[in-house]
Symmetry: C2
Subunit: 235 residues, 2 copies
């Protein structure tokens, strides 16, 4: 077989920044690295791309292996490729962020792999350039979630509007006006109201909603305005 001679191949890895939401806070899933160098230190979930795999395949495999979840929302957001980013050998990393429903996550795997959920403020130091990856992923999430309804991916099938709001407030670290928030979200036409109420967090109870899947997919690329004054977060 013909080859491109004289070119130097490099290793290619994928790294996943995995976001979850526990009802109050956004959290990140980290693992303790099980190979040298930096064995035992905290890192993102990642792995090398295998022959026959596309980068997306690799990212999905890593995610399934670590969390037991398939068909997860993922966004490839940046390649990290500085020549010295991995001290062992030149490795290119394709970074993805993933949004998962924390309730579907299998705790069993968690323990097996020495994985743990962290609040962004309480994260330990990570290996290599993983700190930078997390920083960029959080920014990217804020950017995209201001325009597109991706945060639904972090919630269970049915959820209440106050839950949804708590999620947005977690991502943007601000309080939003309750009344405007619910009206804004309802006006998108993305939500289907259910008969059932959640009575856990209040006496009156909040109605459950689900996502209108077809409407969601059709208008996903359009610009919405889900966050008040988004520019204040990007200046």
């Amino acid at each position: 077989m013909q080859k491109y001679t004289g070119e130097t191949p490099v290793l290619v890895a994928v790294d996943c920044i995995i976001f979850g939401f526990d009802g109050w806070n956004i959290k990140l899933l980290l693992v303790q690295r099980n190979l040298d160098p930096e064995k035992g230190k905290w890192s993102l979930m990642g792995g090398f791309m295998q022959p026959g795999e596309s980068p997306d395949d690799a990212a999905n495999r890593v995610l399934e292996h670590r969390t037991g979840l398939k068909n997860v929302y993922m966004d490839q957001f940046r390649v990290f490729g500085g020549p010295d980013r991995d001290p062992v050998e030149r490795t290119l990393s394709i970074a993805y962020y993933a949004l998962i429903d924390i309730n579907k996550y299998e705790k069993q795997l968690n323990d097996d792999h020495h994985a743990e959920w962290f609040l962004p403020e309480e994260m330990p130091e990570l290996i290599f350039d993983h700190n930078e990856m997390v920083k960029l992923a959080r920014r990217q999430l804020m950017y995209k979630a201001a325009l597109h309804p991706i945060l639904f991916q972090l919630l269970p099938e049915k959820f209440t509007i106050p839950q949804l709001q708590a999620l947005y407030e977690g991502v943007y670290q601000t309080k939003f006006d309750d009344r405007n928030f619910s009206r804004k979200l309802l006006s998108t036409g993305l939500l289907i109201k259910l008969a059932e109420k959640d009575k856990q967090s209040s006496k009156k109870g909040a109605f459950y909603y689900t996502l209108d899947q077809s409407h969601y997919e059709e208008n996903f690329e359009s610009f919405l305005n889900l966050v008040p004054n988004p520019n204040k977060f990007f200046q």
Copy 2:
């Protein structure tokens, strides 16, 4: 030196979708490929990432080598990594789009490298998955230019508002209202009016403007609304 054993390295390339604007139309710069396979066929400008180079370095090198231009606006927008995308050998491609001032481009290099500017509608078939890359790059350009003032990068130092409008109309393939367009752009505070007028295209003449560089950089990440009814392009 320690190594990750058992992992398969792959070649990594960068490919650049280079946009230019000749005053009336958006154009794309393509080259005739000078190595096998597919020698002589049209392709994007690309090259392999070299040891010691980051992907951004590689993209800048390719661009400078082919156009003579440095410090060009580039955006890494997607990795193309299907296992069979290059028939010769597994190659990952990191795709960038670049926006250049067509007047600064050196025609000499053009001829040397068998490069040519094409209208998007008149482009030849390209090798590998380059057609798909172009398609995605054009979409990405529309997306980003609706929110951020990147299209200025395609114009010379000084330009008139009608020129700017023609550019936007080229990118979105629509007519915009002249009066609203100029008012909207002026209200961004990005433009500095010059004393001089361009009398080429009208008797009254249109004032030249330049970009307020500091304002541009400071607010680059904020959302602007530069395009009327942007959602119609993404539904």
